[in-house]
Symmetry: C2
Subunit: 247 residues, 2 copies
DNA sequence: GCTTTAGCTTGATCCAAGTCAACCGAAAAA
DNA sequence: TTTTTCGGTTGACTTGGATCAAGCTAAAGC
């Protein structure tokens, strides 16, 4: 939501001005744990908000890195392209999550970030994030936690790709989405997929046909109801059980 | 190497005292880019060195996190255990690399770190690393780069697990090891594997038999010479070509 | 020294997921 | 409105790697 200070009636400015202090994602995003005064200093840093239309790139692999991005609304995927044309989706990101952390290491982005629906992002110039986190201990620590969480998440995906069979992977994927939607106040049982079967397959190391077949099986078993991109989870425990049984 | 200041002849103390400023890994490890004065402040922080015998745990999943670890010498693996007994090796770490970054997020370690040969590590209390990096800009930035590099590395493994066939995975693995040994001044063409076929397989999402067969094929093709854990790379380009051709 | 055991290799067989192909349905374009 | 296109589903067939099994090698223990 835009800032609506009674002292500042300049609507056109306030609309493009981002304000972490009034953002309803502040408990999920970078501002987590900051007090009011610290929040206002963060507001100064996160200067620009930008709209990204569905299908557009937020950044491309190889571009110079200078900011990380917080998703204010919408849905993204990141993917990596190999020289020989193979590519893989490395993640799906939703509101409150950060994009671009991979670029810090080489000062160039190492993957593409593409909007899967019309989205809004906040740019956070990285050098300013570093200088502010030298002053605000809480911000520094939270940022470290976010980076570490990304590493843990990636280990989870490696686990999934390395040890799970097709249906287990898809079950894990659906449960993960459900859990993230819940954290954002949406239904845990009913949602629309923003990505195609092919993108799901790429992320899970499967072909689109295999993803489609697994959806059909889940439906036959009564775990879910699928209609194209519309998913209803009917039996969370069924899906969970599917994952924990070594077969 | 231990500190050998002419002013401090207390050998017993200097042996257990770590000194980043005289460590020959400082260009690979956390001290990278620091000046002398900054290095000495880092020395104060990295207080303890510890020996870990082959097969012993440096830490276990679930333990409280309070330090990250730099490998001074030796070789480690990290692995994750799922409830149902499945496990997967998530990485192999060698001298100059950091262990424990995954623990920052939840303040508990999320994987096990096990020495694959007798090793020495430096403990770096994380809260002190944070406070020091609030003062030393270069340290802060370098630490962020190291965390980011870990994320990029994990994306590479996801790519490998998601899109490559068995022989491509093993070729990528050997080339990666070779490159890391080179960076440490060892031969790029000849080295001993510290891990078993089963551990390699676990890391690459393959069974040990498949790893063994791939080694044999590489030998038949003249790419490498294998004898148990002793590897000689005879044709780097052969291995590289194997990875880049979509088949 | 010999014995044991953990790790490695190789062969035979099987199966989960990939490939190829046809068709369907929904949404976008004309 | 009709047509086209893109994404999804389903079936038939193939295959890469898993599984099962036997034997080998080298280092560790006695």
């Amino acid at each position: 939501m835009p800032r609506t200070s009674p002292l500042n009636q300049d609507i056109s400015l306030s609309l493009i001005k981002t304000a972490c202090s009034s953002c309803n994602l502040r408990e999920l995003c970078l501002p987590f744990g900051l007090n009011l005064e610290e929040l206002e200093r963060l507001d100064d840093m996160v200067s620009t908000r930008r709209r990204i239309k569905r299908g557009d790139h937020l950044y491309r692999a190889g571009e110079a890195f200078d900011s990380i991005f917080a998703i204010r609304s919408g849905f993204f995927k990141t993917d990596v392209l190999l020289e020989d044309g193979r590519d893989q989706v490395t993640g799906f990101q939703m509101a409150g999550e950060l994009l671009g952390l991979d670029g810090i290491s080489t000062e160039h982005h190492t993957c593409n970030a593409i909007a899967l629906e019309d989205s809004e992002i906040c740019s956070i110039p990285f050098s300013r994030l570093e200088s502010l986190s030298r002053e605000i201990h809480t911000l520094q620590h939270h940022f470290h936690k976010v980076m570490s969480r990304e590493i843990v998440r990636d280990h989870g995906v490696m686990m999934l790709l390395g040890t799970m069979r097709a249906e287990e992977r898809l079950a894990a994927f659906l449960l993960n989405l459900s859990q993230r939607f819940t954290a954002r106040g949406f239904s845990h049982a009913e949602f629309y997929l923003r990505m195609t079967r092919e993108e799901i397959g790429s992320y899970l190391g499967l072909k689109l046909e295999t993803v489609s077949r697994a959806f059909s099986r889940f439906q036959e078993e009564g775990y879910i109801a699928v209609q194209q991109k519309h998913i209803r989870i009917l039996d969370v425990n069924g899906l969970k059980a599917l994952m924990n049984h070594r077969s």
